[in-house]
């Protein structure tokens, strides 16, 4: 007779892996068929009164039925839930109450395990949330403890390293113009521990950047592209505010801290998980970068206003940048989209008191000519 196995039978006469067997439950007891073994000596059906039951298996979720005397003990392990339910319904309660107790213990262990996992996942989540929301506060606290002299040393060494490899303008109308702009901006900054040092570097890059401690670099590319001194002054004002708000230092602390925290928790995973860690870190630092840029934009605008430099130049510059932005995605970039920046600045400008701008003493066209820009013939 071939049987459809639904349980594994163990005992001295069976192999250690157990023999596949078929267990049938009836109102009188259970019937066991093991392929290749003779039926029970005491008839095919074993009455419930001869059985002992317990729970077994890795997670104690299997029904273990046992009867007979050594060495002919038979111990089928049942894991089919339908069969277990049938057994519990058919067997007298005094037989199954041990098993019921064991089943309750299994359920309890399962709840305990779920709760344990819940606590672990929950506390990790809470920690991540805390770091996400509280990180600005923590970083600000750490940054406020770093003396300005350290920041200046840090910025200066990076600045000198950078300039050593660059072609800086020593003097001339362009440098004089940048110095005039800086002078007008910094004279409006009170109670600043920084002395600003600005260098104009020959390069076609349309950009400028600030290092911690008051070191600012302006590329001639930016000055060639700008249509007025006010546009360059707008960018300078933005960079000066990066320095004043210690954004560089902030960013260093945040990136290092974030790296440390993430590494402590996830270690140095390989493959896909490692890639996810890297991308995650990248996205967080980018988001952080955008927040800084927006802050520097707004405070930069206020500084321009105080220095009586026409803020329209800054807005105009971003509008012209936005023409190149097409197809860029804001959340994948450190800088906010230029269109959005220009809009934000326009909104901010409305709320500021009106001032009458005072023009610069230089002629912007002449400055650009000194940088090699061909004068455009105006009709």
């Amino acid at each position: 007779m071939t049987i459809v196995p639904n349980a594994l039978c163990f005992g001295a006469e069976f192999p250690a892996t157990g023999s596949p067997c078929h267990v049938e439950v009836s109102s009188r007891g259970i019937t066991l068929h093991v392929e290749g073994y003779s039926p029970q000596p005491d008839g095919n059906t074993v009455p419930f009164s001869l059985l002992t039951v317990s729970s077994g298996g890795l997670d104690h979720d299997q029904l273990v039925v046992k009867w007979g005397k050594e060495p002919s003990t038979r111990t089928p392990y049942v894991k089919d839930p339908v069969l277990i339910r049938a057994f519990r319904e058919a067997a007298p309660p005094e037989l199954t109450h041990h098993f019921e107790a064991a089943a309750a213990k299994v359920r309890q262990a399962r709840t305990h395990r779920r709760r344990m996992w819940g606590i672990v996942v929950g506390s990790l989540g809470a920690l991540v949330l805390f770091l996400w929301l509280g990180s600005d506060w923590l970083v600000d606290l750490a940054v406020s403890r770093i003396p300005v002299e350290w920041e200046q040393k840090l910025g200066e060494s990076a600045y000198r390293d950078f300039l050593a490899k660059q072609d800086a303008l020593k003097g001339g109308p362009a440098v004089a113009a940048v110095n005039e702009m800086t002078q007008r901006l910094t004279s409006q900054v009170t109670k600043s521990p920084y002395t600003f040092e600005i260098t104009v570097v020959k390069s076609d890059v349309v950009n400028a950047f600030a290092l911690p401690g008051g070191y600012i670099v302006v590329f001639t590319g930016l000055m060639k592209k700008a249509e007025s001194g006010e546009e360059v002054a707008g960018v300078l004002s933005h960079e000066v505010n990066h320095v004043l708000q210690r954004h560089g230092l902030n960013r260093i602390v945040k990136t290092l801290g974030l790296m440390a925290v993430v590494t402590i928790f996830v270690g140095d995973p390989q493959g896909l998980a490692g890639l996810m860690k890297q991308v995650g870190l990248e996205l967080v630092t980018l988001k952080f970068g955008r927040a800084q840029e927006t802050e520097a934009d707004l405070t930069g605008l206020q500084l321009l206003q105080r220095a009586k430099i026409d803020p329209a130049g800054m807005i105009r510059f971003f509008e012209r940048l936005s023409e190149k932005d097409q197809g860029r995605m804001e959340w994948l970039s450190t800088h906010p989209m230029s269109t959005a920046r220009a809009e934000r600045l326009k909104a901010e400008l409305v709320s500021l008191p009106k001032t009458i701008p005072e023009p610069f003493t230089f002629d912007w066209k002449k400055i650009q000519e000194s940088l090699g820009v061909q004068p455009v013939a105006t009709p």
Binding site: P5, N6, A7, L8, F10, G11, A12, P15, A16, T17, G18, P20, C21, G56, G57, L58, D59, H60, Q62, K66, T73, T75, Y77, K79, A109, R113, M116, W117, V120, G271, L272, A273
Partner: protein, 227 residues
């Protein structure tokens, strides 16, 4: 489907003979050679999410390869990555094995593979991680080990202690607890065993004669450090 272990010992291969239309699934990269009648497909066992969870949770490969004898009978040679023995188990639909993540080499198409979450202590201290493979179904299941495979047969209620990183597979009728190897914490670690698993029968436990983690630590000292 017939299987035969070639070159038993440290560097074995398994030859699987597939009848026309038969399939076998294997760990990706396990195939050594095959008859021209065999087609290789890669498959995300258990669907995309199943495969993803297996990859992220157990560290098993994302794809399994399926070898199909589409155009007639043929043979396939399979080999594991690490040196060590291969064992073929026959699943009958009732028995079920729990396999540590690197132990699976191949199985018949009718063999079912799931990742199973372990209890917190077992996952943390058991040495196999929080997720292991639960393999059931019918047909041959081919496992591989690091070093030789030793089979321990446990009678009902019989207990046996195994160092946690020497486990390959165990039947689901056995249960185990994690314990310190020695009675004190310090002695547990200075004895070099740390934690051990106390198994309780009935069932079988397959253990490997070498510990991959210790071997990795040993070999690391000979790898030149690049600056």
């Amino acid at each position: 489907m017939k299987s035969e272990i070639l070159y038993p010992g440290a560097f074995p291969m398994v030859r699987v003979e597939l009848g026309a239309g038969e399939h076998i699934k294997a760990e990706s990269g396990a195939m050594v050679s095959a008859s021209p009648t065999i087609d290789i497909e890669s498959k995300m066992e258990g669907g995309f999410l199943g495969a993803l969870s297996r990859k992220l949770l157990t560290g098993e490969k994302f794809f399994f390869q399926t070898l199909k004898a589409n155009r007639g009978a043929g043979e396939v040679l399979l080999a594991p990555t690490v040196p060590g023995e291969i064992v073929v188990l026959e699943l009958d639909g009732v028995n079920e094995y729990l396999v540590q993540k690197d132990g699976f080499l191949a199985g018949a198409e009718t063999v079912k593979i799931e990742s199973q979450m372990q209890s917190f202590t077992r996952g943390l201290l058991g040495g196999e991680g929080f997720f292991i493979l639960k393999i059931s179904g019918t047909g041959p299941l081919i496992l591989n080990s690091f070093g030789a495979i030793h089979k321990v047969e446990l009678k009902p209620e019989q207990e046996y202690i195994v160092d946690n990183s020497h486990l390959v597979a165990w039947s689901s009728t056995t249960s185990y607890n994690i314990e310190r190897a020695a009675s004190g914490w310090v002695a547990s670690f200075t004895s070099g065993e740390g934690f051990v698993c106390r198994f309780r029968g009935p069932g079988v436990v397959y253990i490997q004669s070498r510990n991959p983690g210790s071997f990795g630590a040993w070999i690391r000292q000979f790898i030149p450090v690049s600056e």
